[in-house]
Symmetry: C2
Subunit: 263 residues, 2 copies
């Protein structure tokens, strides 16, 4: 499992740094990250200068300097996104929902894009934690590996679907002309973890040595992630959340994958 630990952590740190440069005020160096919450990340970003000395935010009104403003802004964005797409939201909408001013969004997150990046970072930290847990569980497990993979990914896709939608929306915009090589998102994070997990299961003899790791990873992502996306695009008579929450669903998905991957 070493591959997952190293490659994955490096990828995530890289990705988080990329996002934090965006999320923090211009010219502030991004810190190295281990595990962190968005509040830690925010604190590390805004409180450290280029030279590494602590730096207090300057030149802003004190009355809005509540301890929880960044957190409140992220939660307000989350609530608003439940009913409206990101590009239909203004700084003013978000600030109003958080009970603060648009200046605070610019101050703490350098604008709407930075606030969105912070929400995505927060989600990615949770996703990484969940995948780390899966890796640890699989290392100990004697059986039901595939079912554990499916349960973990289904949970991620269902719980983090707001971030998923947001990532895709932002990503479509970023792809206008160029691919942002310096930003690994959730899909890259998940597929990297899956590659490591599948390779490990092949080594331990649970999956056939001839299984194409890349192909299997894409199929597992498709079977677990796509149904959640279909909740958004298909009429409810075809699929609903209850169906995806039904344990039989995950059992069937796991059975399909096992018939493809197991000896």
């Amino acid at each position: 499992m070493a591959m997952l630990g190293i490659g994955f952590a490096a990828g995530l740190a890289h990705s988080l740094c990329g996002m934090m440069v965006r999320a923090g005020p211009r010219g502030v160096e991004s810190p190295k990250l281990a595990a962190c919450t968005i509040r830690d990340a925010f604190a590390a970003t805004v409180m450290t200068s280029n030279s590494g000395h602590p730096l207090r935010p300057r030149g802003r009104p004190r009355r809005d300097r509540r301890e929880d403003v960044p957190e409140t802004l992220i939660r307000a964005l989350e609530d608003l996104l439940a009913n409206r797409p990101a590009d239909a939201l203004t700084l003013r909408d978000i600030a109003a929902a958080a009970g603060t001013s648009p200046e605070m969004v610019r101050y703490y997150f350098n604008g709407k894009e930075g606030l969105i990046a912070a929400l995505l970072d927060e989600s990615l930290v949770r996703v990484r934690d969940r995948l780390d847990g899966l890796t640890a569980d699989l290392a100990r497990a004697k059986q039901d590996h595939t079912r554990q993979i499916v349960d973990c990914l289904s949970e991620i896709y269902l719980r983090e679907r707001l971030a998923g939608k947001l990532f895709n929306a932002v990503f479509v915009h970023d792809r206008a002309g160029r691919r942002l090589e310096d930003r690994a998102g959730r899909p890259d994070t998940i597929v990297a973890a899956l590659h490591a997990v599948i390779d490990d299961l092949k080594e331990r003899g649970h999956y056939r040595p001839s299984v194409d790791t890349g192909r299997a990873a894409i199929m597992i992502m498709s079977l677990t992630g796509c149904p959640v996306r279909l909740l958004e695009t298909l009429d409810q008579r075809w699929i609903d959340e209850g169906r995806l929450g039904d344990p039989q669903w995950n059992a069937d998905v796991a059975a399909m994958i096992e018939r493809f991957c197991c000896p």
Copy 2:
């Protein structure tokens, strides 16, 4: 296969009518549709009044009344969408790319939304034709049913991916608060066809009678459609178009589905 023929055609006609009302000038009744190209649809929509009498467009400059303006506008939109998201495009951009004026977009399509709807309609007509072809092929086939389903859907998802992206983008906007019950899109069209196909294969004994049709349809959609979407979101080291074009890919997908659906 009767179910596919009737339910599917009704759904599509319903859906196309919904779109054509949007695409055409206000107050023009949408005609009944059999198979039609967007040019037919356009002609039928703009050339027929509420009372059924032929109606010439009025009050617009004659110099831009070229026969191919609607077609040219749709192709221009298609070209522009290859590099930019729909909401980053203005009427002026689209008109300039088509060598005409923004007024022509308003005249023929009632604005950008109508032009986008026309592009989606065109794609949906192709998708329906391809699904009708699949139904006919499966009715004759003695074997390889699943492989034919997978080949057909892969082809649709790869070829029509611009419309797919566009549908999702538009759909996200439309979902801001409400679901447009009167507009069935490509996903609903495909899942309806799959339900009919799977039920038919169950009746003919090719699939197990106990197969849950809805579950199998979602899994088939996920396995064939999601990898195309991942092309957009994953780094190329994980997946590329060549891999999806590889016949082994479809063979593997078909094998997974068969192991799940066949006796």
